[in-house]
Symmetry: C2
Subunit: 399 residues, 2 copies
Amino acid sequence: MFISKKVTEHTRNTSQVEIVSYLSNLKKRSGEELIDLSIGNPDLPPCDEALEILRESISIKGIHGYGNLEGLPELKHQISEYYRTRYHVDIRPDEIVIVRGIRTMIFSLTSLFTGPGDIVLIPNVAYPSYFLATEFSGASQYLVPMNEDQGFIPDLDLVPEEILAQAKMLFLNYPNNPTGAVIKKAQLEKIVKIAKQYSILIVYDNAYNEIVFDDETPLSFMEIEGAKDVGIELFSLSKLTSLAGWRISFCTAGKEIISTIYEYLSLTETAPFNGFQFAAAKAIEMVSKHNLGHTIAMRYKDRYDSLSKVLEKIGLSYYPSKGSFYVWIRSPKGTGRDFADFLVEEAKLLVVPGEYYGPGGLEYVRISLTMPDNLFDVFLKRLESMQFSWDQAQITENH
Amino acid sequence: MFISKKVTEHTRNTSQVEIVSYLSNLKKRSGEELIDLSIGNPDLPPCDEALEILRESISIKGIHGYGNLEGLPELKHQISEYYRTRYHVDIRPDEIVIVRGIRTMIFSLTSLFTGPGDIVLIPNVAYPSYFLATEFSGASQYLVPMNEDQGFIPDLDLVPEEILAQAKMLFLNYPNNPTGAVIKKAQLEKIVKIAKQYSILIVYDNAYNEIVFDDETPLSFMEIEGAKDVGIELFSLSKLTSLAGWRISFCTAGKEIISTIYEYLSLTETAPFNGFQFAAAKAIEMVSKHNLGHTIAMRYKDRYDSLSKVLEKIGLSYYPSKGSFYVWIRSPKGTGRDFADFLVEEAKLLVVPGEYYGPGGLEYVRISLTMPDNLFDVFLKRLESMQFSWDQAQITENH
């Protein structure tokens, strides 16, 4: 009787929606022995100091009323401090807005700054919400070429002039989901220059910020000359502090952009719980003080190392992750979805077919490194033992 | 450099946005002695039992990860129980979706079910977000006539046939913000019948549900025959349990409508914190068990009685509130905004000009009854002492 204008047959058939049902069906079909490598829910415990602040906050008079949408000064102060100590960048309180999670913000920003007739530039493999937010805003998407050889950095030189002229927004995300790629400062500087030239707003999704491996250095978009004028950095506590459920994230940008975002949010949104804001201030303080980002990065690096050894051993081709907690593996035969089907059938391992992240991911699958230690070991053993059945695998080309 | 597609000059000039800046400017201009009667933030303390559950939840392993978007079974169970004990209505878990606050849902639902070419029916005075959500979705608004004599119930008989045929959604809200009106079951039945005839989705905003005075009985939209097929009830914990900051609300509707809403939210939203969901289950249980809604209603009724005595004494004309925590007062001279200006200047009392709620409110102001007890007494004294200056008031007609 009531037809949704958004959740239509069309939306349901986009890869970003279709694969969600695909995964959910696989989960339902499989028994308890299934190991779910499809989600990126951090499994490390959050820091006690932040939880203590949260616990104390519960008794504060009035704390359970509406939250502070402008952001508690203490939280903004700690965000400034974090930027200062970690990236040597000066971010003032009026260059910060506290938001309820990066995903919701992707939809809000796309709807706020783009609409029918506009083009949104999305890297050829990217976090699925960029595609869907563009769909919902009414703008058109243009896939920016990127490939494994060039370390999964979108190449704006390959985008036609007339597309750049019509483009209103570009999504970037490093450390990257799903590829595990990172971006170098010089590469980012080049993109910022082009964006400035064509007045393209960069939405820089820094959800996995400090989770970088080896000799990589965590990079903030705000370190780039002129970044504040041309883009927005999205930052989340979910990955860095394992507080995903609190939905405390923040945007940083130049004062003018932040003030437009704040104006929109003040009309449509409500603020995160003040107790979370107090505790998040402490969590960020601890991240800055004890370099917790590095500790977490090392943890995922260890897991990545163990996994890559097994991948080498069984002869699977993969992109060497430089950060985030994902590994991007090429299907040995057929599409990524064929391979995902095979892994569920043969080893009860659930991974995400790469097409979920755009057409460039058709031949890949993504594996997430976030899971309890004991399960991770079982996963590695199961994967390793597949070597034989592997060679015999009957993966059809067009499953 | 970056032009928002939503926060435009046009949006800024709608009453719903313009008055927000007006109030904010008045607040900035006024000193500490200002009493703010413009906001409806419940000032009663939340129940200890719920806070205790929240406190305990902080130590649960994994609780700080992503929340459960489907809604914790315990919470859905308590919502069912609440409907059963309070309204004698059977609501199953698949007829409930847990959401992050009513306001956000107003925007989501309007965007989900309406778009350019559609008409949204909005009562002539109504909660401002209905207007803005319609604006943002691209649909057109049609103001349904309602007036004080008929108890502020929108009269669909006065809406032309061709408008009804094009209408996709109708907003209703009782107990009403800003008028304090309530709706009778028979009146609602009549509206449901018409909505069904024309396939108009009713969004029934029940934010103030149990806050009704005298011999009024709390009413759920779901009590109406056929309601599940034609509408959505929005319910919030903010007012009933004074837990506004948690952003725990819920929608109830028929299974098919709920499943469409859930599908959309699963693409765009993230779930409320699981600790809040556990604690909210307890809060709702306490509301059901101890009839807390009635206790809260009596508290605001007392305040309303005190205020109405003063209003009678100083000779101000007002609509006798039947529920919610607002009083809708007619400006004695000039527009509601003239009167609001006067109250700030002369008595440092901040009220909302009625045009914020639509053109039907032009000659009114809204006063909120939510404030600490000591402030409420000061407010009453200040208002009462205005009687003299009142007669001399120089309120210009076209301020």
